[in-house]
């Protein structure tokens, strides 16, 4: 049965998800923009609630998707080009070229995110999606969609270096060695008929099946398992058995 990392939803905060993705976003930003890109908001939606808009550019990977709608595409392009597009008039061809540029940049972002998120596989049927709003100084540039089921692993991995120092782990043999068991010593027995047992009285002598030079049996009190044998002896005023 497959299993995956788990954290309560309350632990999947924007800060933690951001921190988990920070290196990936930073490297992408350095490669394409030259400015910092941060996750400004996180929203959890079911896949069916996600709508697409005309005019957006988007790139889909095996685990993640990133898109920039008409509203945010301008800031994305300004960040990519490093210049304001205010006042420029674009031809249809310009639009296609600019969309192509934005698409390439988003494809690279998705590839980077896929490499990171792909290490924490989520079930194919995952319906919940985390949507991160990505911002740079030019404004909101895109929305990054991550499978919710992969977030716990992603966040946990990023928390690795801030884990509290765990208590040392004892060896199982040492821990078991400190457990106690009760043993009992059996001198011997005799097989009697019901009739004889019913007739037993004070003063009767029950002959045992053990000779005087034979050791008594040592066994685990609860399980009745025979452990060994020991000759009757004494330890100060106590009855003792000397293992033979």
């Amino acid at each position: 049965m497959s299993c995956r990392a788990w954290l309560p939803d309350a632990a999947l905060t924007l800060d933690r998800i951001s921190a988990a993705l920070s290196v990936c976003l930073q490297e992408w930003a350095e490669a394409w923009i030259g400015d910092a890109v941060t996750a400004a908001q996180v929203q959890f939606l079911n896949a069916s609630q996600i709508s697409t808009q005309v005019g957006r550019v988007h790139a889909a990977g095996s685990a993640t998707t990133v898109s920039s709608e008409a509203r945010t595409k301008r800031a994305l392009l300004e960040a990519l080009l490093g210049t304001s597009l205010h006042g420029h008039v674009f031809t249809e061809r310009d639009h296609r070229l600019l969309d192509g540029l934005a698409g390439r940049a988003l494809e690279d972002l998705v590839a980077r995110c896929d490499r990171l998120v792909g290490a924490f596989p989520a079930p194919a049927a995952t319906a919940r999606i985390a949507i991160l709003t990505l911002r740079c100084p030019a404004g909101e540039i895109a929305k990054l969609e991550l499978p919710h089921a992969a977030l716990a692993g992603l966040v946990k991995a990023s928390l690795g270096d801030v884990r509290s120092k765990p208590m040392s782990i004892s060896s199982r043999a040492q821990a078991l060695g400190e457990a106690t068991v009760e043993i009992e010593a059996v001198l011997g027995e005799n097989i009697l008929r019901f009739e004889d047992i019913a007739g037993l009285a004070v003063g009767d002598v029950l002959l045992l099946d053990r000779s005087l030079d034979e050791p008594a049996q040592i066994r685990l009190a609860q399980a009745g398992v025979v452990l060994g044998a020991g000759l009757l002896s004494r330890d100060a005023n106590r009855v003792a058995l000397t293992i033979n």
Binding site: L187, V205, D235, V239, I243
Partner: protein, 91 residues
């Protein structure tokens, strides 16, 4: 038969206890117990001494089917051990 009418109880079949008189059971003489850690238990070797929870003056217990039914002092009967009963529960 009306619902108020009482029925006489069926006579119960009883097993004659004499048929059990020849059944055999083991009566076991136990000297005492000791509590050991697993570490101490596994370290036992020839010559090790295990001290029991009984003093030399205490008697051995006689167990029948896991229950202590009598107590007595350890004696020698010829070359064998025996237990002279000093205390026994009523039948």
């Amino acid at each position: 038969m009306s619902s108020m009418e009482k029925t006489s109880p069926q006579p119960r079949a009883q097993i004659d206890s004499s048929v059990l008189s020849d059944v055999e059971v083991a009566l076991e003489a136990r000297l005492g117990r000791s509590t050991l850690t697993i570490g101490a238990l596994t370290a036992l070797e020839q010559g090790s001494v295990v001290t029991l929870d009984r003093s030399l003056a205490d008697h051995a217990d006689l167990y029948l089917n896991g229950k202590c039914v009598a107590r007595g002092e350890i004696v020698a009967v010829g070359d064998n051990f025996g237990v002279r009963i000093t205390d026994i529960a009523p039948e």
